[in-house]
């Protein structure tokens, strides 16, 4: 019985002592950290992709809370939903953000484009590119070693068996990581709904393009003439589409039909450009 009383007393005594100590310490020595940082961090998708321009999700969370000039809509993978939440937490105004996805501006598959040499070395586009431009005849085209595929954190890119990466529009968040690592800046970020995209990046003259690749833009300017809205211009032997005009005004893209090399056309996930092209011609 005595032991029981002692036990209770000791427990109560220790409990009180420690309780007091802790509360005292808490009052005296606690250091404040803005809890909103953690809240924002929780909201972010934790891809750590760096698409926001900060070295990681936590860094962005800190910046967006502490710095009033950092907008809440920088997280591209999170899209509007996250931007809204971040804005709510930080009390900032969320502006609508443009959704974009990656687009590969090359259709030079193994079949279409010449490989002049036989590259042996690290399977990486940057590595191949530093060796006098790699083994592809076209100096603008995709080297096909999949550096972009490797850096994609969202599993949205795959290398097709024909040597050109394809983007899955459902998974692509538009973080732009692939675009930064591409040594030939073939990948651009475009709005997903655009009907007309130019699948080529070559500023070479038509004759040279033809020599290297059967699927390149030769800069003939037919599409530019066809487009009633003036959305396509030829810049240094390459057709360039203003996707904004295209998206807003055009419903019936006539430019697609006349392109002699079929380089202007919508890109569809899951279908290799080469095959898709064949089907299109058949139809």
């Amino acid at each position: 019985m005595l032991t029981a009383i002692y036990a209770i007393l000791v427990m109560i005594g220790l409990g009180m002592m420690f309780g007091l100590l802790i509360s005292f310490a808490n009052k005296k020595w606690s250091v404040e950290v803005d809890p909103r940082i953690h809240e924002v961090d929780e909201v972010l998708p934790k891809g750590q992709c760096g698409g926001c321009g900060y070295p990681g999700c936590m860094a962005y969370a800190e910046a967006v809370v502490m710095n009033p000039n950092v907008p809440p809509n920088l997280c591209t993978p999170g899209k509007d939903a996250v931007a809204k939440q971040v804005a709510e937490i930080t009390g900032k105004k969320a502006e609508a953000m443009e959704t974009v996805i990656a687009f590969v501006r090359c259709a030079g598959t193994y079949e279409k484009a010449i490989r002049t040499g036989e590259y042996k070395g690290v399977k990486d586009c940057v590595s191949a590119n530093i060796l006098v431009g790699g083994d592809k005849g076209c100096t603008y085209g995709c080297l096909g070693y999949g550096t972009c595929v490797k850096v994609c954190m969202f599993d949205a890119m795959k290398m097709s068996p024909e040597g050109i990466p394809v983007v899955n529009p459902d998974k692509c968040t538009g973080c732009g990581k692939c675009a930064t690592v591409c040594p030939r800046t073939i990948i651009t970020l475009t709005p997903p709904g655009v009907m007309v995209k130019v699948n080529c990046n070559s500023h070479d003259k038509g004759a040279i393009v033809r020599k290297h690749c059967k699927a390149g833009c030769i800069g003939c300017g037919m599409c530019s003439k066809d487009c009633p809205y003036g959305a396509i211009v030829i810049d240094n032997f390459l057709a360039v589409v203003d996707s904004k005009i295209c998206l807003e005004k055009c419903s019936d893209p006539v430019c697609l039909t006349r392109c002699p090399t079929k380089v202007i056309r919508p890109a569809i996930w899951g279908v290799v450009p080469g095959k898709e092209l064949r089907e299109e011609i058949k139809a």
Binding site: T3, Y6, A7, L14, G15, F18, W29
Partner: protein, 193 residues
């Protein structure tokens, strides 16, 4: 003197906390992914282990034993250590921010951990005096830190290996720990305890 030295060496190497006593494995596997974290953690463990061992010995011998409350030791030790670490963390955060940045975050991690609680319990079981418990705690902490740092550097090297996918991460960490324990087997029987 040599008695204390042997106790220290025994606790640190021969009866290594992780590799032969299987204590603190959560920290061992959790923190060793990063070399820097593990070296800070090692330091944190050594100091907290020693201090909490001193504290618990005092409480055990001046409160629990005289009152015949030996069976309460688990509860009391846990609470004492938890509170002590909590306060230590606050103090360091407030007064030594640089030190806090180095190993502050690990303090709370170890608060309720078997390595820290294990030492006072072992001390109590072996009935060591104050100095011996302190030396034992110091040795155990050092042994833990050595194993942790070695293990972390090994794991860092393994990052550059071609580990089969299925045992990547925890699996290979266990196998590696097994091999490290195998190497530590060489010390077995060195100091009879």
């Amino acid at each position: 003197m040599s008695e204390y030295f042997l106790l220290f060496m025994g606790a640190a190497i021969v009866n290594n906390f992780v590799l032969t006593r299987y204590l603190g494995l959560c920290i061992f596997f959790g923190v060793s992914k990063n070399f820097h974290a593990s070296s800070s953690m090692g330091l944190a463990i050594i100091s907290i282990m020693t201090m909490s061992s001193m504290l618990t010995w005092t409480i055990e011998h001046f409160i629990l034993l005289p009152l015949g409350l030996y069976f309460l030791k688990t509860i009391v030790f846990v609470v004492v250590i938890a509170v002590f670490v909590q306060i230590l963390e606050m103090v360091i955060k407030k007064f030594m921010p640089t030190l806090y940045n180095v190993w502050g975050i690990y303090l709370l991690l170890v608060a309720t951990n078997c390595v820290i609680l294990g030492v006072p319990l072992i001390n109590a079981e072996a009935n060591y005096n104050f100095l011996k418990s302190t030396v034992n705690a110091l040795g155990s902490g050092t042994g833990f830190a050595i194993a942790l740092i070695l293990f972390a550097s090994l794991r860092e090297k393994l990052q550059f290996s071609d580990v089969p996918k299925s045992i990547e991460g925890l699996g290979i960490a266990f196998i590696l720990a097994g091999m490290l324990a195998l190497a530590f087997q060489g010390f077995s029987g060195m100091i009879p305890l």
